[in-house]
Every structure is written in C-alpha cells, then in structure tokens.
Amino acid sequence: MSSADSSSGDSLGDATSTYIESQVIMVTVRVIAPFSLTYGLFLMFHGSGSPGGSFQGGAIIGATVLMIAFAFGIEPTRDWIQNRTLVALATGGVTTFAMIGLIPLALGGNFLEYEMYKEEFGIKAKWGLEAIEIGGVAPIVASVVVGLFFLLAAGTMQDSVSEEVSGDE
C-alpha cells in the first residue's frame, strides 16, 4: 500500500485527498446544516420583529452552503448549486426589490411607497417591507456569498475549472 502511494500519487494526490474527509466533520455538518439553514431562514422571515434580518439571514444561508462545501468537497457542492442558480437568485433579488419599489411609482406614488399597496390592493404596508426583506436582500446576499466562495475556490483544485466553465453557459 505504501509503495503504491509513493509511486503514483503525485499527479492525483490533490484530487484524491480532496475527498477523503474526516467522517467526524462530515457527520457534524450533516447534523448542523439543517439547523443553520433553518436559522438563516428564521432570521430572514423575522427581520421585522427581532434583531437580524434578511442580510444576516442571507449570510447564514450562504455560510451553510460553505459548511456543506467544506465537508462534502467543493466540487460536488458546485455541481449541486450551479452558477446559473446563483446568478438567477441574485438577479431575481434585485429585480424583486426594484419591482416592489416601482409598482407604487407606476400607480402614481413614490418609489417604495408601501401605502399605495394598501390603497390599491388592500395589502398592509408591513408586507411590502417583508417582501423586500425576504425576496430582495436575502437572496442577493446569500448568492453573492456563495458565488464568491465558489469562484475563489475554483483555482485551488486544478481539475475543477474546466467543468465550472462549461457548466456556466
């Protein structure tokens, strides 16, 4: 076994060791990840009532993905959450925010004038605020965090890049 090591491990050593994870870390992440994701979502939904909010929630959701990437390998995680998803989330977040802001403008009010929703559709101002928190800020933050992580991690493993490029259009 040891002779096999020293003779042929060089070129593949990198990719090999990527995946031989400590099962302790893996199992811990398995247990923790649902809780941290739930907590991130909780913060996102409860931005209006308790400390934190969608920015923090989004960051924690992103950190959960990072956690999974560290335990299961960055490559499989990248395959799991494709770049397209991330870009879609970030763009969708900005679009949602802009739409919620622009609709009152179209109705003759001001940008982000939530009162217009109440007048026109009977939706409480609170929900407009919530929609911005949930649909706007959180996806942007989470996807930017995860996207930066993936891109920064791309060069650290040699065989990863070509796939990443091909997966992204």
């Binding site: 076994m1 040891s2 491990g9 060791s17 031989i20 099962q23 739930t38 909780f42 939904f45 499989p76």
Partner: protein, 404 residues
C-alpha cells in the same frame, strides 16, 4: 458476530472474499483477453452498465471474463449486530444472481465465450472511505488478473456522499488497471449531492426544521406556522439527502430514547474527567504524560463512530485525532484517562445507544486487544512494520496530500 479481529498484516489477506462462481460455459479456456471487473450496487443504471460490460468483454478475439463485485456498505454493517445480516446476504446474492442472468442474456449466442463470476467483499469489515472501497476492489482485481474496470456512473455503495470520482482516482492510484465509466443513458443527470430523497427523509427533516423554527419563534402564531412550514420545506427539499444516508426507521425512536439516557451519563463522565484534568493542569509541575494511542472500536457506521469520537473528545484527557473507519487515533493526556478509554465505558454507552442493551455485554477494548499505544516513537516504528493498513497513521490519500 465479528467483534474480535486482530490486525491481519498482509495486504491480500485483508480482503478475503466469499466467492461464489457461476460460469457460463467457458470450461478449459485459454487466458482470456478481456478480463473485466465491475463493482455493482443497486442503481438505476445498473442494467445498462452490465450490458456495456458484457459487450466490452466480448469485443475483439478470445473469450471474455467478467467479475461483478458487491461491496458491503458500512451502514449495512451496522446490522451485523441484529438478525438482518442473513437477510442482507440473501439480498446481495439475489442481486448478484440477477446480474448474472442479465449478463447471460446479453451475451446471447456468445455466452460460451464469456465467464461470469460474482463476489461480495467487505461483509466482515468496515469499509468507509472511497479509499477503503478502492483498496478492496484493487485486491480483487489483483487476484484475478483483471485488465480493465468498468464503473457504473451511478455506483454508490453507501459509504458517504460523493463517491464515484474519488473512487476512480483511488483505483487509478492503487492499481495499473485502467478504469472507465460505462457510457449509460441517464434520464436525469443528477449531481452527487442532488440525489433523490425519499419522502420519509424529507418528512423527518421537515419535522425537525419546523420544530426548531417554532422553538426559535417561541410563539405559535399564524405567521410563524406559515413561515415555519415554508422554511421546513426548503430545508427538507435541499438538505434531506445530505442529512440522511438512509431512511430513518422505527429503530431510530429507540435510539433517540436511549440517547436521552446517554446524555446524563456523558455529562457525568465529562464532569468527572474534567475535575481530574483540572487538578493536573493547575498543579505547578504539570504532571502530564501524553501518549498517542489507537483504539479499534466495536461500533459501526459513521454516525455511531462520530458520536463515540466526539464523546471521547468531550471527555477530558482524551482527544480523537484521527478517525479511519472504526479505528480511532486518540491522544491521551494522563494515564487515568487512558485507562478509562481502554476500559471502554463510553464505547459501551454508544453501543447501547445505537444497538440496544444486548450490545453492551461485549468485551472491552482492552480485553479484545484492540488497543495500542503508539508512543514513544520507537514503539510505533516496530508497530508500523507488522501493523495493519492503518498503523502508519496516514491513509494513502492523505499522505498523498503531504507530498506536494
């Protein structure tokens, strides 16, 4: 019941297999040109892989030789303590028989030129990482002069998430045998993390997530119930495959109940050992005597091993440095903690949690002779020369990382 196993020193003896050969024709053949090895497990593309393997084996001149290998997963090994071991063997044999029939069918008129054998390995040991599986497969390949390996793209013997690529790399490193992926048509290309999750898994995770959410919210208001359900759904859809390897079954309720009993015991152990270590640390002379030890524990499966490893780490005086399968490398700070570790109280407790009361009566690690003190260093040297595959303290792949 396989509890006591001394280190078997030699590579080939490490992976003996229960061979049951089913030859289709091919008696008195010359050495065939196309000797293929195919690791198999239940998967959606198994049928196509078998077809491809048969086609490849029959290509060119001469007769073909196909060997199908089933690798037992560590999670299945869990059941060695129960009655299910026999049932498992039956399932595996049935699978292998079915594959043999498929191969026969695919060979058609050429079945005279094709020899098919099937094997299962790893039933009596704990194969956790891709490296372990690779080593087992390589041993089989070496023994039978295999010339090529064909991998099922969906192959996963359940040793923890992403397997195929690391297994390929491992095999390339361990043997000279070329490895190829069978070109199968998959209906949906599923990335490794995005396997289908069963409804039980998703349901269980939804429940956990939902309850956690309600606990965080504190009030069971309508808003919390709705957003909690949304969060629970998101978590269940995205993570249930990551959190669960297998469907949680009824036995989990028992495990959970026993875990509740286990926690106070763990607290007590932690407290006791903490006082011991505090005494040592606060003495001016610092009378510590650290030693690296190795314990081959009698628990199976990643969750039990992790529970044990973390319990050991939480108990002062002992620290799990490395986990390889069920072999733990434990750093011990003081002799007292070392003795406790070798007496296996925690190990017994973890066995109690996961396998029930009956499993508690097994011999302690000391009695099983599963304990080694790796230091001082000259001792560890002598151990390296006759020890098992783990005695150098590095698995193959990890030392590969060191070399850069």
């Amino acid at each position: 019941m396989v509890f006591v196993r001394p280190h078997t020193p030699f590579f080939n003896e490490l992976f003996p297999c229960d061979l049951h050969t089913q030859s289709i024709g091919g008696g008195g053949r010359p050495v065939p040109d196309n000797r293929l090895l195919v690791p198999v497990a239940e998967s959606s593309t198994l049928r196509q892989t078998v077809e491809y393997a048969v086609r490849t084996a029959l290509e060119g001149t001469g007769s073909g030789y196909l060997e199908f290998v089933y690798v037992h997963s560590p999670e299945v090994s869990d059941e060695r303590l129960g009655d299910q071991a026999e049932a498992n063997i039956e399932t595996v044999t049935a699978l292998l028989d079915r594959i043999t029939v498929w191969a026969e069918e695919d060979a058609g008129d050429n079945s005279k030129e094709l020899t098919v054998e099937s094997t299962h390995v790893g039933r009596d040991r704990y194969l956790f990482s891709p490296g372990d599986v690779g080593t087992a497969l390589a041993a089989v390949a070496n023994r039978n002069d295999i010339e090529r390996m064909v991998l099922d793209p969906e192959y996963n013997p359940g040793v923890g998430s992403p397997l195929l690529r690391p297994l390929e790399v491992e095999l390339t490193r361990l043997t000279d045998v070329p490895v190829e992926e069978a070109p199968v048509q998959r209906q949906v290309r599923r990335p490794p993390l995005l396997l289908r999750s069963s409804s039980i898994q998703a349901g269980a995770l939804f429940f956990v997530s939902f309850m956690f959410y309600q606990v965080l919210a504190g009030t069971f208001g309508l808003f919390d119930l709705v957003t909690g359900a949304i969060s629970g759904t998101i978590v269940a859809v995205s993570l249930s495959r990551i959190t669960f390897n297998h469907d949680p079954s009824v036995s989990w309720i028992g495990r959970l109940a026993r875990f509740v009993v286990f926690v106070p015991y763990l607290f007590w152990e932690i407290l006791k050992a903490n006082v011991l270590v505090a005494k040592v640390i606060l003495q001016p002379g610092l009378p510590i005597e650290p030693r690296l030890t190795r314990v081959d524990t009698a628990v199976w499966g990643s969750l039990p091993v992790t529970t044990l490893a973390n319990s050991i780490t939480l108990t002062p005086g002992t620290l799990t440095v490395r986990v390889e399968g069920r072999s733990l490398m434990v750093h011990t700070l003081v002799p007292g903690a070392r003795e406790d570790l070798f007496d296996g109280g925690l190990e017994r407790a973890v066995r109690f949690v996961f396998y029930g009361r009956n499993a508690m009566s097994m011999p302690t690690p000391r009695e099983r002779d599963d304990t080694t003190i790796l230091q001082p260093r000259d001792e560890s040297k002598s151990l390296e020369s006759d020890g098992g595959p783990h005695s150098s303290g590095k698995t193959a792949g990890e030392s590969g990382g060191d070399e850069q």
